[in-house]
C-alpha cells in the first residue's frame, strides 16, 4: 500500500500514533485505509473493513451518512454519534469529519477524528435527572428575568413558563418584585436567601423559601441566576400550629394549681411554674438549681423517673420547701421520650395541705357527730334504765302495800341490778364521750394484739374457745395510742367470745391476726360464733345497740370505731348468721397521728 497523502513514514507511524484522539482515513468507498493506535484501541480491528462496519457494526452505509455528505460538499462537520467499541459496548463519540481535497480540489479521502464522550453524556443525563427530581423547585433566569429553564417540579406546579419573565409568570406582576433577591445576585454575584409567596397554576397560595445562586460568572459578571425554591407552606402551617400548642401549654403550666417542674435531657431546670414556686416557697427572682431538687423532692424520686419509661407515682409523700419545711404532696413524674431517646423529665406536684386539713376536719366532724348521736342515744339508754328503776319501785311499793314479801324482794333486786347497770353504763359512756385525747407513742403493733390475746386466754379456755394470736410478716413500730388500740382490740375480742358463747358451735375458735400490707397495719379478729343477721349488722356500729340484754351497754364497737378513726383508720366487718364474724381495723401508716412529746 502506498502512502495516500504522500507523507513520510515518520508522520504516519509516529505523529499519528502519538495523537490521543482516534484518527481514521476513509476513502470514497467508505474503506478505512488508515487509522492510528488510539482508533484501534477504541474501535478494534479496522484493516480491510468499511467505516460503517467498524463504527456501527452495520452491513451497509448509514442512513444519514455524514461522510457521504462531506465527500459531496467538501465541508468539515462535527456530530455526536452512537456506535460500538471493540468489545461491543454502546459508545457515544464526538466525530469531526474533515474532507481532504487533492491539488485539483477533488475529495478522495476524509479524516475522521473521534473522541469518546460516553461518560460526558452519562453525566449530562444524570444532571438532568437530578435537576428534575430534586425535591425543590428550580428555575434559571437570565439578566432580563426571562426563565431559560425549569425543572419538572416547577413545571408541575406552574405549567410551561419557560421564556416568560419570572415576575409575570409567578406573581402576575408587570415589573420585577421589590427586594428581588435574584436581582441582588446579578448585582453582587453572591448567594441570597429570601421568602416569596406565589400562586400556583390552580390559584392556590404557596409559600417558598428561595435561594438564588449565580451562574456563568465571567469577569465578575453574572449572566444567569438559578433560583431554588423550597415549598414551606406546610412548614409554616405546622409552625403556626406549634405556636398555638406552645402558647396553650405555656398558659396551662403558668396557671396550673399543681406545681410543674420540667428538666431537659441534661437535667437543667427549664420549667418551674408559679404553683411550684409557691409550694416550695421560692421567693422573688430566686432560681432553683438542679441539685436543690434532690432535697426538695423525696430521695431517689428523680433517679426512679430517669431509670425507665412509665409514670412514677407517689400518692402521699412529703416535699421539702426551700426553708426546710415539710409539705404533704402527691407526686407524678415521668420521662419525656421522643423517638426512643430520653429528652427530659416532668414532675407534677399536688399540694395536699388543704386536703389533709379537710380530712382532719371531716374526722373531727365525724367524732362530734358520734358524740352528738351518743347524747341523743343517751336519752334512750337512760329512759330504759329509769323504766327499770321505776319498775323496781313499783314492785317495792305494791309489795309493801299488799304485804307481799316476794314482790318486795324482787323489787329490791330490780333496783340493785339497775343501779349496777347505771354505774357500768356511766363509766363506759364517760370513757366514750369525754373524747380522751389519744396519747401517741412509738409502739409495736403486734405487741398490743399479743397482750390482748394473753389477757383473754383464761376466759376463752374456760368457755372452751381456742383463742389464737397470729403475726404475719414483719411489722415495724408505729406511732399509736397503745391504750386506745388495746381498748379497741379488747372490745373486739370480748365481742368474739360472747359470739362464741351464744353460738351452738361445739368447736369455737377466735383468730386475732396482725399484718401489714402496702403501708397499712391490719388487725383482724375472726370468730366462728353466732354471726349476725342483716338487722344486727346494720346497727352494729350505732350507739346503745346491744344484743346482750343487760350484759352490754352498746358502746363497745362505737368506741372501737372512734379510736380507729382517731388513728386515721377504718373499721370494717364481715359477718354471716351462724357462721361467724370478722372485724377488721385498717390503719394506714401515713395517716397515723404524730408521736406526742413526752
Amino acid at each position: 500500500m502506498t502512502s495516500p497523502i504522500n507523507l513520510d513514514n515518520w508522520i504516519t507511524e509516529n505523529l499519528f500514533n502519538s495523537v490521543s484522539m482516534s484518527c481514521a482515513v476513509v476513502d470514497t468507498e467508505f474503506n478505512i485505509i488508515y487509522a492510528n493506535n488510539a482508533f484501534e484501541q477504541m474501535f478494534g480491528k479496522w484493516k480491510t473493513r468499511k467505516c460503517y462496519s467498524v463504527y456501527k457494526n452495520r452491513d451497509s452505509i448509514c442512513t444519514s451518512c455524514k461522510a457521504a455528505n462531506a465527500f459531496k460538499d467538501g465541508i468539515p462537520r462535527t456530530n455526536e454519534e452512537v456506535g460500538y467499541d471493540k468489545s461491543g459496548q454502546r459508545t457515544n463519540y464526538l466525530k469531526h469529519t474533515i474532507p481532504v481535497p487533492d491539488e485539483e480540489g477533488n475529495i478522495g479521502f476524509l479524516i475522521e477524528i473521534s473522541t469518546d464522550i460516553t461518560e460526558t453524556i452519562k453525566i449530562r443525563k444524570e444532571r438532568q435527572l437530578l435537576f428534575d427530581q430534586v425535591p425543590c423547585n428550580i428555575l434559571v433566569i437570565d439578566k432580563d428575568f426571562n426563565i431559560t429553564s425549569t425543572n419538572k417540579k416547577i413545571r408541575e406546579m406552574f405549567g410551561d413558563i419557560e421564556g416568560k419573565t419570572c415576575y409575570q409568570s409567578l406573581k402576575g406582576l408587570d415589573s420585577i418584585c421589590r427586594e428581588c433577591i435574584a436581582w441582588q445576585t446579578f448585582e453582587d454575584g453572591k448567594t441570597h436567601t429570601g421568602y416569596s409567596t406565589v400562586k400556583d397554576k390552580s390559584g392556590k397560595t404557596v409559600h417558598f423559601q428561595v435561594t438564588t445562586v449565580p451562574l456563568e460568572s465571567k469577569k465578575g459578571k453574572v449572566k444567569q441566576v438559578m433560583e431554588m425554591a423550597v415549598d414551606i407552606t406546610e412548614t409554616l402551617k405546622l409552625e403556626k400550629e406549634l405556636k398555638i400548642a406552645h402558647t396553650f401549654m405555656e398558659s396551662m403550666i403558668a396557671t396550673s394549681v399543681d406545681g410543674i417542674i420540667g428538666m431537659d435531657s441534661d437535667g437543667e431546670i427549664v420549667i418551674f411554674n408559679k404553683a411550684a414556686r409557691k409550694m416550695i416557697n421560692v421567693i422573688g427572682s430566686r432560681q432553683v438549681q438542679r441539685n436543690e431538687l434532690d432535697y426538695i423532692l423525696p430521695k431517689g424520686f428523680l433517679d426512679q423517673i430517669s431509670s425507665g419509661p412509665g409514670h412514677v407515682y407517689l400518692p402521699e409523700t412529703d416535699i421539702e420547701t426551700i426553708d426546710g419545711n415539710k409539705v404533704p404532696a402527691r407526686l407524678t413524674g415521668f420521662q419525656i421520650i421522643v423517638d426512643d431517646s430520653p429528652m427530659g423529665m416532668s414532675v407534677f406536684i399536688q399540694d395536699l395541705r388543704e386536703m389533709r386539713q379537710l380530712e382532719n376536719e371531716k374526722l373531727e366532724a365525724e367524732r362530734l357527730a358520734a358524740v352528738g348521736q351518743t347524747v341523743a342515744g343517751l336519752a334512750h339508754g337512760v329512759k330504759n334504765l329509769i323504766t327499770s328503776l321505776e319498775g323496781g319501785m313499783y314492785m317495792l311499793k305494791s309489795g309493801m302495800k299488799n304485804s307481799k314479801i316476794e314482790r318486795i324482794q324482787e323489787g329490791m333486786e330490780m333496783l340493785g341490778r339497775n343501779i349496777e347497770r347505771i354505774s357500768t353504763f356511766v363509766k363506759e359512756f364517760l370513757s366514750f364521750s369525754k373524747g380522751r385525747a389519744i396519747v401517741t407513742g412509738l409502739c409495736d403493733p403486734a405487741d398490743i394484739a399479743k397482750e390482748v390475746v394473753g389477757l383473754y386466754q383464761t376466759k376463752a379456755k374456760g368457755q372452751g374457745i381456742d383463742l389464737q394470736y397470729m403475726k404475719i410478716g414483719d411489722i415495724a413500730k408505729a406511732p399509736m395510742d397503745y391504750e386506745g388500740i388495746h381498748e379497741s382490740l379488747t372490745n373486739l375480742v370480748g365481742n368474739a367470745i360472747d359470739a362464741c358463747i351464744m353460738s351452738d358451735n361445739k368447736k369455737s375458735n377466735i383468730w386475732v391476726r396482725v399484718s401489714e400490707d402496702k403501708g397499712v397495719i391490719i388487725y383482724e379478729v375472726e370468730d366462728n360464733g353466732c354471726g349476725m343477721d342483716y338487722d344486727v349488722k346494720k346497727k352494729v356500729f350505732t350507739n346503745f345497740f346491744t344484743t346482750k340484754g343487760l350484759g352490754g351497754t352498746g358502746l363497745g364497737l362505737l368506741t372501737t370505731k372512734k379510736i380507729v378513726q382517731e388513728h386515721g383508720g377504718k373499721t370494717d366487718m364481715v359477718s354471716e348468721k351462724d357462721k361467724g364474724t370478722t372485724f377488721i381495723m385498717r390503719l394506714p401508716r401515713n395517716r397515723l397521728p404524730k408521736p406526742a412529746e413526752k
Binding site: 336519752a379 323504766t387 327499770s388 321505776e390 319498775g391 314492785m395 305494791s398 343477721d533 346503745f544
Partner: protein, 126 residues
C-alpha cells in the same frame, strides 16, 4: 277482779317486762310475754291476746317490723297495739311516714306513766 282480758307484753328488758306484767295483773288483766319481736308474733298467734304492748328497740327483730307483721296478718290485725318505747317522739313521726299503715292504737314513752297506761288499756279493751 279479773276482767278476763289477756295482754301480750313484748319487751326484751327483763325488768321492764316484769314491771309491766305486775302492773297490768294488778289492774285485773291476764298477761303473756315475749322477749323479742319474732317471739312476739308466735305468742300472739298462739294466745290471741286482746291487746299487745310492744317495745321498739329489741334484738333479733325490732318493734317496727313486728308491728307491720301484726297489721299484715288477717288474724292479728284487729288486736290493738300500744307501743311503749324509750326512742321518744321520733318514733311517732316514723310511724306516720310508713306508707299504708295506720298509727298504733296507743303510744307511750318510757318511763311509763302508770295511770295513763292503765287508762289507755281500759279505753281500748275495757
Amino acid at each position: 277482779m279479773s276482767s278476763g282480758k289477756k295482754i301480750l307484753v313484748v319487751e326484751d328488758e327483763k325488768d321492764v317486762s316484769t314491771y309491766l306484767v305486775t302492773l297490768l295483773e294488778d289492774n285485773g288483766y291476764e298477761t303473756v310475754t315475749a322477749e323479742d319481736g319474732i317471739k312476739g308474733i308466735d305468742v300472739a298467734k298462739q294466745e290471741k291476746p286482746d291487746l299487745i304492748t310492744l317495745d321498739i328497740a329489741m334484738p333479733n327483730q325490732t318493734g317496727v317490723r313486728t308491728f307491720r307483721q301484726y297489721k299484715e296478718d288477717e288474724d292479728l290485725k284487729a288486736i290493738p297495739v300500744i307501743v311503749i318505747t324509750a326512742v321518744g317522739d321520733d318514733m311517732r313521726r316514723y310511724f306516720n311516714k310508713v306508707p299504708g299503715f295506720k298509727n298504733p292504737e296507743g303510744f307511750m314513752n318510757k318511763p311509763i306513766d302508770e295511770e295513763r297506761l292503765i287508762k289507755m288499756v281500759e279505753e281500748l279493751i275495757g
